[in-house]
């Protein structure tokens, strides 16, 4: 692709014997909102720091706008960062923080002030310009940090878990605000988070990372609905895990036997990968399970003991036990559940698992 703002070409990063990034390649398209999603230690922040120039890759090449920048120091890259803890300069006012970066673009003092006012107005903090930066709330600091980075009109804006220090409600609010800012400015965002919901809400594309690799790169619906690996399937979205063994191979599907004796049909998306006798893990999301009205009609039905019903407002979450020790969860709108389910606690119910909702992955292989 020609229009890659950032291109990482077979980048590796090692600290001593610790491999943080392992032969990672990534292209960030101009104007997109790309999220690096993964647990702590998966290499997402290191990837960000390699783009910004705070870390140098051990191997591989980093391109910004097609230009090799491995040897270019951070302060000469047209890339700006919103840091996790904002890193606002405590000895400066809000306005001084925001206009700070313009000093180095030879913008005259008065113009800097004007631009800072404009940028602060955009994030709704115009009246705070002469406040000391330490006198702000977390959400306000986050907005100032954003204004301070955006005023530089970067090629790419890097955001390192910028919302992780905020409470849930403010986080939701700022997610939408960030997304809107990104759309309006057209600036490329590379966003790092461990919060998969955040990633799903905001991103154009998501790169799911694990142990220095990108396990899957795609649109949110790809990642959520069509996971390519066991890791992605387990990591993105809540999921039930059912371990079993392939007992039969059909045209486009396999039959998997669970330890409880139940047999489930699952489509094979990666053909030829699974042979009879292979240990597999089936992944299915709680919201895809259904309580079967009567067991005769449907295929893929397992018998389970209803252990608990949790009230979640419009939804209910059912905790079920299949066989001796396998626990699964089912989530469904309350009005779609059979009536009087509450009286059936401790009794068996039939659970239908639509084959489409099942993902079979070979077990015990880290990819």
């Amino acid at each position: 692709m020609m229009d890659a703002v950032v291109r990482l070409d077979r980048v590796s990063k090692r600290f001593g014997s610790l491999v943080v990034l392992d032969d990672l390649s990534l292209e960030v398209r101009r104007g997109e909102f790309l999220t690096l999603l993964g647990e702590s230690g998966c290499g997402k922040t290191t990837t960000l720091r390699i783009i910004s120039g705070f870390e140098e890759p051990t191997d591989g090449a980093v391109y910004l706008n097609g230009r090799l920048v491995n040897a270019v120091p951070a302060y000469r890259r047209r890339v700006n960062t919103v840091f996790q803890n904002y890193a606002l300069f405590p000895h400066m006012t809000v306005g001084e923080n925001v206009e700070y970066g313009l000093r180095f673009d030879r913008v005259p003092r008065r113009e800097r002030r004007r631009l800072a006012e404009e940028m602060l107005a955009r994030v709704g903090l115009a009246d705070k310009i002469d406040r000391q930066s330490t006198a702000l709330s977390g959400g306000q600091m986050q907005r100032v940090a954003l204004a301070r980075a955006l005023i530089k009109k970067p090629e790419v804006l890097l955001l390192d878990e910028p919302l992780s220090a905020l409470d849930a409600r403010l986080r939701k609010e700022l997610q939408l605000e960030l997304k809107r800012t990104q759309r309006e400015t057209g600036i490329t965002f590379v966003y790092v988070t461990h919060d998969q919901e955040e990633a799903l809400v905001m991103s154009d594309r998501i790169a799911v990372m694990e142990r220095g690799h990108i396990r899957q790169l795609g649109r949110p619906d790809d990642v959520f609905e069509r996971p390519e690996t066991l890791f992605v399937a387990e990591f993105v979205g809540a999921s039930n895990k059912l371990d079993g063994r392939v007992v039969e191979i059909r045209h486009n599907s396999v039959i998997v036997a669970l330890p409880s004796g139940d047999r489930l049909e699952a489509p094979t998306r990666s053909a030829g990968d699974l042979a009879t006798g292979t240990d597999v893990r089936l992944i299915v999301r709680p919201e895809h399970l259904r309580v079967a009205a009567d067991s005769s009609a449907a295929t893929n039905v397992v018998r389970a003991v209803l252990e608990d019903i949790i009230y979640l407002g419009s939804d209910r979450k059912l905790t079920l036990r299949v066989g001796e020790r396998l626990r699964i969860e089912l989530q469904e709108r309350g009005d779609r559940l059979p009536p009087c389910l509450g009286t059936r606690l401790g009794m068996t119910v039939d659970i239908e698992i639509p084959p489409d909702a099942l993902y079979a992955f070979r077990k015990g292989r880290g990819e």
Binding site: S52, G53, F54, P73, A74, Y75, R76, V79, N80, T81, F83, N85, A87, L88, F89, P90, H91, M92, T93, E96, Y100, G101, R103, F104, D105, R148, A149, K152
Partner: protein, 288 residues
């Protein structure tokens, strides 16, 4: 009602009493005593309580004392400036570059503080003296034909010793200030396009100014009032004000005049310190 209040603020009250008590006993009373003495009169060998401005008049009109005070101020200023610069550099090196040598170097910086002040001043006699280490080395190496005598018993030797002694007083608070600066600030500055020197000037330095100022102030006050170093390492022309004051309380047996000089020194130092605090505040407000 007030009993409940008393109950609630018990610890505060205890602390306040302790602090006030300390200030009164160790600062207030001695200074009040010296202040009172400074108005007394001396008749040959007796001291008589009085309210006489005579001692102050004498200090102001006599050129000798003015010269000694200026001399002290000069030495204190040089010592403060040099130890600030060197102390800052040292602290910066320790905080930023030293890495695995940090603890060792830090230890070496602090160890001299455990030895006596007198010893630390005296050691320079051994280094700078006519048959001292430096002269021996230089004559051995053939740089000098005969030992140099200009090294010792002058302002140079006093200043060197005081700089050596007081360097940690600057380096330690600056180091503490540098340590407290999160790496995020430096990275944020670079991220916003600032070259390393500009990051130092706009971000790192302003955040260490309080530490530097505190250290420099202590150094200035202590070196202004020091008497051991000048009496060990100074020549006849380099008497500092503390030596004169000591002499008034000792040999001259003129406590009132000594007290007047002490009060004057106190006022001068307070004035200078106040001025530098004010300047520091104005500057940092104007620039930050």
């Amino acid at each position: 009602m007030w009993q409940a209040k008393l109950q609630r603020h018990r610890i505060e009250i205890v602390c306040a009493i302790a602090a006030i008590g300390y200030l009164v006993v160790f600062i207030g009373l001695p200074y009040a005593n010296v202040f009172a003495f400074s108005f007394w009169e001396k008749d040959l060998y007796t001291l008589r309580p009085a309210l006489s401005p005579e001692n102050y008049a004498r200090a102001f009109t006599n050129d000798l004392y003015r010269q000694v005070i200026l001399n002290s101020a000069e030495v204190a200023t040089i010592v403060t400036l040099v130890s600030s610069v060197l102390g800052y550099l040292l602290a910066y090196y320790l905080a930023v570059y030293a890495e695995r040598w940090r603890n060792l170097l830090f230890f070496l910086l602090i160890v001299p503080l455990w030895t006596s002040f007198l010893l630390r001043a005296y050691i320079w006699k051994i280094i700078l003296g006519r048959n001292g280490i430096l002269n021996s080395a230089l004559t051995q190496a053939g740089v000098l034909d005969q030992p140099a005598s200009f090294l010792l018993y002058n302002k140079f030797s006093i200043s060197i010793a005081l700089i050596y002694i007081f360097l940690p007083f600057v380096a330690l608070p600056v180091y503490a200030a540098l340590e407290k600066i999160p790496r995020g600030y430096v990275e944020a500055s670079a991220d916003l396009g600032s070259p390393p020197w500009a990051t130092f000037w706009h971000v790192v330095f302003p955040l260490t100014v309080p530490g530097l100022a505190a250290g420099a102030m202590v150094v200035f006050c202590l070196s202004f009032g020091d008497f051991i170093t000048p009496s060990l390492l100074g020549g006849t022309g380099d008497i500092m004000i503390a030596n004169v004051i000591i002499a008034q309380f000792g040999a001259a047996y003129d406590w009132p005049f000594g007290s007047a000089l002490a009060i004057l020194v106190l006022l001068i130092v307070m004035l200078l310190v106040g001025l530098s605090v004010w300047i520091g505040r104005t500057v940092s407000r104007g620039r930050a």
